[in-house]
């Protein structure tokens, strides 16, 4: 009899252990080395670098586009592929910036630098979509970046719609920068100065328009 009590006691005790163990599972599965919360400035640094930092093993990547347009010629080691119009492939990889932009706006909400971050968001979107569409033509634009809600196969917009959208966003960006204050997380020499960013936005809008004008 004593033995049976001991056995049932042991089983109950182990069951207790299990239930206690289960409630700790969420703690165990939390990685203290990783974070699910960041700040707007860190995301801003990422977004700006994604658009502006040249991505190459050496500085030749910086010259590449100009060789394509035949503004420069390059002759050292091996030839530069773009001189011979070998442009390779391009994809939609830049669009992974979009969830970062949304997240940055969420963290910027209510802060004093909100307008600057909104301006940065619009400008970054414009730069990225312009760069993608000028190489690929018709691309997803209005429905892009909404993967988290389940939109995994995105419909395309025409290049005209994309460029119109880009120009509109640049206008909005310019508006936001005009009302913004100095923001954190800017890796460029502008150091977060919204006035300089506003000028940059206008300069970029001009560049977009130039590339769209009809050849005479």
């Amino acid at each position: 009899m004593k033995l049976n009590i001991k056995i049932t006691g042991a089983i109950l005790f182990s069951l207790l252990l299990f239930t206690a163990g289960c409630s700790k599972f969420d703690d165990i599965n939390m990685n203290p080395d990783a974070t699910e919360r960041v700040s707007a400035s860190m995301l801003a640094t990422n977004i700006i670098l994604a658009n502006l930092k040249f991505d190459g093993r050496d500085a030749k990547a910086y010259l590449d586009e100009n060789a394509l347009a035949k503004y420069i010629a390059y002759a050292n080691e091996t030839i530069m592929a773009s001189q011979y119009n070998t442009v390779g492939t391009f994809g939609f990889g830049g669009m992974t910036m979009l969830p970062n932009i949304e997240s940055m706006l969420k963290y910027a909400e209510g802060s004093s630098m909100e307008n600057s971050y909104k301006g940065l968001a619009k400008l970054s979107r414009a730069i990225m979509f312009y760069n993608t569409s000028i190489r690929l033509g018709d691309i997803p634009y209005s429905q892009a970046g909404k993967g988290q809600t389940g939109a995994l196969k995105v419909s395309y917009d025409t290049q005209e719609q994309v460029m119109t959208g880009v120009l509109n966003e640049l206008k909005e960006a310019e508006q936001f920068f005009s009302q913004g204050i100095k923001f954190d997380g800017d890796p460029t020499p502008y150091a977060g100065d919204p006035d300089k960013w506003r000028r940059a936005t206008n300069a970029f809008a001009l560049r977009v328009l130039l590339s769209l004008s009809k050849k005479s």
């Binding site: 033995l3 056995i7 182990s14 163990g21 860190m42 640094t45 990889g93 892009a144």
Partner: protein, 1032 residues
């Protein structure tokens, strides 16, 4: 208090038993009627014992109720109750090499009758692994179990890779599924036996960690016979030649600058002029200046001269005692391995202690062991690690003699003495000044308590714990032309590329532990013809790993000062931590009818911390049965026949932290600014565990009084609900989604184990064993969204281990298309074969004649594909022995000319267009024979692609991995007892041993493909040596 009462009861019983004893005598013979000497006769209840004399006779005092057990090595034990008899004669039957009638250790350490098992198992006895002792016991297991593939890489200190039916099995030591132990941590001398439980079926009771089979190791816990034994088992093997070693051409040297008559000192291989003794300004290592010297192939044996004598020493000392209540054993093992490169040494120390105690209803068993591994330099492997082969065989040349470069400093700690000024380190400098020291401590222990509640009910509690601590350094001296390459100081750490020339110091500390606790109630009751057995239990398994690494940045401020304080720029640091816990409840119910029909069912429910709350709990059952046909139908020639079948389901949860949606943080991404990157993988919160269902059928038969035994198994394992990171279009803002795919794959296989004893007489015994298995994985269902699409080879019914490369572009007759004189490649991938072998086999035989025994084992794999990285780069650098063509000579002696004409066609007009499915849409090409000459070098560089940084191999560098090895041979002489007695030992034997003796491969001639891949693998050594065993 209870214990005292039990002991008192025990004393009374034994005394009363003693009062009614009588003298029992008799004779023990074998199946031929010959008396057996040394048979152990044990009275199980009183504990008394004796051994038989020379003619097999014995006498012992025992009561009528006493059970006498007769046991002798190599024969099946027998137990009988005394009853009214005074004379008991026993005939012992030899045990077959396949343990058919005996007892087998299965999941959770529960011993089962082998005939009752419905699933495939195979056993290897520890004493077969204790003569030829290499670095790891794993190597000696190659080919001994059907369905188990062991890949033994020749790379220094690399652990052999074990897979059972294509998957990595769980290692269980004394019933505990440790999280951090491998077979490298168990010395072969401590092993009593290893039982291999194949497939998910046999391990359904270990949960998700046991779904790929389990290797159940039982360690020795006492002496072999009663009493006290000290054993010494010493084995030393020395390298006696190489099985495969790359060779280099010796006709051409490196490029010479004709204007200055100086050879170039950048590491570009051997595309220069022939080494015909002409005066050229070269680096003189003795005077350490540039001097005009004859240009000769003085370095043609550089690689061979660089190798040093390797050896493996494996010594074990153990003390064991077996008494009435139980046994105890302490053992110490020391293994030392000297690799073939300078400064490569590996030391492994193991100290283990184990014992068990049986006291009536209560029994305890425990084992504890400590392992220490250390090496002053584990080296850097592969092309991207800049293995020494890189600077000698590939981008070096035969115009410098390595024997003159042993003094490797120009300026100590700052500038090396090398015939190159970039790319190729002086190989001695590389081995002594660019090092990767390694130290690891592992401790593991377990305690098992059994208590007999009733005669048919038992309670068991087991707790196991292991912990490891691993420290790795990488030190690179200033002046090294290569950094750390792909080397890391920590598992999941960062690759130490580093800046060459500036030096660096990196250190990584990693440690972890796992704890496994189980409690079970086990019942076993016989009711008339039926036997019911079962158990219910629970387990908690927790494991945690953590690590910190720190790396200097920007070089060392003071040459030779290897410390984090010497870092020029701020030190880079990283830390990581992983935790996981699984709680389980499980149970089993089994029925047996007489000894003919057995049926059992198991069920297990796991709660895993790595899945979201909604899918955290998952359940999986299994059913198995066996039918012993030979109980009903027993002709003379059939000794045993069992049919078995099993069906098992098991589930695997997601990897640790895989479901966590976290940002990636990069510190100092630009100046002092840090970036946060939103995860590019969508992680929905409804991921559930992956699943698989295995169905298995088998038959175990033995004929002619157990002289021939055959075990055949056929299995099918369906795997589904794969958790995949499926690629999606980045236009969604993400590059992947973490989800359960609808794809299903099935692995089908056959295993065969055949054991034959052709000769068995009093003096001679000859056993032969053969293992063969074949398996392949096929697609059985594809997911319309997430499976690979638009590829012809991904189709239901095709094998999933397809090997694809870019083939050479050809015309419709198969001639290679050249462009500007060099071959071109198709822009699409083509399917050229299968990566996994077609079948694997193992063969072993033992011949015993009086005091001599000869053991031979062979094994091999047939089929499979792998690329040869060493060969492809030797071609590209001009050093391959087959690259001495006429055209090359003309190119080299007439600089500026192009003398090679490729045999093939060129495109005159038109193009070929492919669609997204890799099919030809249109082909308007017009061909003409190739008439454009090019240099031999350009042709070779185009023909052999270099894939160290990615890409698929050229078809000329893709080889079949078929090979066979004479794995082990041992010739043992057991000294007669009187001679051994002179040294004071009970048993003494001397063996001539060899490991890795003969290697034959269909295509991989210059490197050993046993490891499965070839990326600058160290030359494979052949070992021959001596083994001495003493038992005192």
């Amino acid at each position: 208090m209870k214990l005292a009462r039990l002991l008192f009861l025990f004393l009374i019983l034994s005394v009363s038993g003693y009062a009614q004893t009588k003298i029992i005598s008799g004779r023990v013979t074998d199946d031929k009627g010959i008396g057996l000497q040394g048979v152990s006769v044990k009275a199980l209840n009183s504990g008394a014992g004796t051994t038989t004399a020379g003619d097999g006779s014995y006498s012992i005092r025992a009561g009528e109720a006493e059970s006498l057990e007769f046991s002798y090595v190599g024969f099946s034990s027998q137990t009988t109750t005394v009853g009214v008899r005074n004379i008991i004669d026993i005939t012992l039957m030899p045990a077959s090499t396949q343990n058919l009638e005996g007892v087998v250790v299965t999941a959770l350490g529960i011993k089962r009758q082998e005939k009752a098992l419905g699933y495939a198992t195979q056993e290897v006895k520890g004493n077969t692994l204790q003569t030829v002792k290499g670095i790891d016991v794993t190597t000696s297991l190659t080919g001994k179990v059907a369905g188990m593939t062991i890949k033994n890489s020749a790379e220094f200190m690399e652990e052999p890779n074990i897979t059972i039916r294509g998957e990595k099995p769980l290692i269980v030591i004394d019933g505990v599924p440790y999280g951090n132990m491998t077979l490298r941590d168990v010395p072969s001398d401590d092993i009593e036996s290893i039982n291999f439980l194949k497939g998910a079926t046999a391990s359904a009771l270990y949960g998700e960690r046991g779904g790929s089979g389990a290797i159940m190791i039982t360690t020795r816990k006492g002496a072999l016979g009663k009493g006290f034994t000290i054993s010494l088992n010493s084995s030393s093997m020395f390298e006696a030649g190489y099985l495969a070693i790359p060779e280099m051409q010796s006709k051409y040297g490196r490029v010479v600058n004709t204007a200055t008559n100086t050879y170039v000192r950048s590491a570009d291989g051997s595309w220069g002029p022939p080494l015909e003794g002409q005066q050229i300004i070269q680096w003189d290592p003795t005077s350490k200046t540039m001097k005009s010297m004859p240009y000769l192939p003085i370095g043609k044996d550089n690689f061979k001269n660089f190798q040093e004598q390797g050896y493996v020493i494996n010594n074990n000392l153990s003390i064991a005692q077996t008494g009435d209540l139980g046994g105890f054993r302490a053992s110490a093992t020391w293994v030392q391995n000297k690799g073939t490169y300078p400064n490569s040494m590996f030391n492994k120390l193991t100290y283990s202690v184990g014992g068990d105690i049986k006291l009536k209803k209560f029994s305890i068993s425990t084992s504890v062991s400590y392992n220490n591994h250390s090496s002053p330099n584990t080296g850097f492997g592969g092309y991207a690690g800049y293995d020494p082969m890189y600077s000698m065989l590939v981008w070096g040349s035969p115009d410098w003699d390595i024997r003159q470069y042993k003094d490797y400093w120009m300026i100590p700690n700052e500038v090396q003495n090398s015939s190159y000024t970039a790319g190729n380190n002086n190989p001695y400098f590389d081995r002594y000044q660019r090092i990767h020291p390694y130290k690891k401590d592992i401790f593991n222990g377990q305690l098992t308590l059994n208590y007999d509640i009733l005669t048919w009910l038992k309670a068991m509690v087991r707790t196991g714990y292991d912990t490891y601590s691993n420290r790795q350094d990488i030190r690179i001296s200033k002046g090294s032309f290569q950094g750390g390459g792909t080397g890391k100081v920590m598992g999941f750490g960062t690759e130490i590329w580093g800046e060459s020339q500036k030096g660096s110091y990196n250190v990584g500390l990693r440690r972890g532990y796992s704890s496994s606790n189980e409690a079970m109630i086990i019942g076993n009751k016989k009711l008339n013809d039926f036997r019911i057995d079962g158990f219910v239990g629970g387990a908690i398994f927790y494991n945690q790993d953590e690590g910190i690494e720190a790396r200097t940045n920007g070089g060392l401020s003071i040459p030779g000062y290897y410390s984090l304080k010497a870092s020029v720029n701020p030190v880079n640091v990283m830390s990581l931590i992983y935790k996981k816990q699984t709680n389980s409840l499980f149970g089993k119910l089994g029925f047996g009818w007489r000894d003919i029909l057995f049926l059992e069912a198991t069920g297990r429910n796991d709660w895993a911390s790595t899945l979201p709350k909604s899918t955290r709990s998952f359940f999986y059952p299994s059913v198995s049965g066996s039918f012993v046909v030979s109980e009903l139908f027993r002709p003379d020639w059939l000794s045993f026949w069992k049919l078995r079948g099993a069906w098992t389901k098991y589930k695997t949860p997601a990897n640790i932290y895989a479901i966590n949606n976290v940002f990636s943080i990069v510190n100092n991404a630009w100046g002092t600014l840090a970036t946060a990157v939103y995860p590019t993988l969508i992680r929905p919160d409804d991921i559930f565990a992956e699943g698989s269902t295995t169905t298995e059928f088998g038959s175990a038969m033995s004929f002619l009084k157990n002289r021939v035994s055959l075990d055949v198994t056929y299995y099918e394992k369906k795997m589904y609900d794969y958790i995949v990171s499926a690629s999606i279009s980045p236009s969604s803002g993400f590059t992947g989604v973490y989800t359960n795919s609808n794809e299903e794959r099935t692995r089908k296989g056959i295993e065969l184990a055949l054991n034959v004893t052709p000769v068995r007489t009093q003096d001679i015994r000859w056993d032969v064993g053969f293992n063969w298995s074949k398996f392949a994985t096929f697609y059985t269902r594809l997911d319309s969204l997430y499976s690979v699409q638009n590829r012809d080879w991904v189709k239901v019914g095709n094998r999933s281990d397809h090997y694809t490369i870019n083939e050479y572009q050809t015309d419709n007759q198969g001639n290679i298309v050249f462009n500007n004189g060099v071959p071109t490649y198709k822009p699409i991938l083509s399917h050229v074969g299968f990566a996994d072998p077609d079948w694997i086999w193992g063969f072993n035989t033992q011949v015993a004649y009086k005091n001599l025994a000869l053991n031979i084992s062979l094994d091999g794999r047939v089929g499979g594909l792998a690329q040869s990285t060493t060969a492809m780069y030797m071609w590209r650098s001009g050093n391959h022995p087959n690259s001495l063509s006429e055209e090359r000579y003309l190119d080299a002696t007439n600089p500026g000319t192009k003398n090679f004409l490729g045999e093939g066609v060129k495109v005159v007009s038109g193009t070929i267009v492919y669609d997204a499915n890799y099919h030809v849409v249109s082909d308007t090409r017009v061909f003409a024979p190739n008439d454009i000459k090019t240099t031999y070098k350009s042709y070779i560089e185009a023909l052999h692609k270099g894939t160290a940084w990615g890409g698929s191999a050229s078809s000329v560098d893709l080889f079949s991995t078929t090979f066979l090895k004479l794995r082990e041979v041992s010739l043992t002489y057991t000294l007669p007892k009187n001679m051994a007695g002179k040294v004071g030992s009970k048993n003494m034997s001397v063996s001539l041993i060899g490991q890795n003796l003969i290697y034959w491969a269909r295509q991989f001639k210059y490197s050993d493909i046993d490891g499965g891949t070839e990326n600058f693998t160290d030359p494979a050594m052949r070992f021959i040596g001596l083994n001495l065993k003493f038992d005192f």
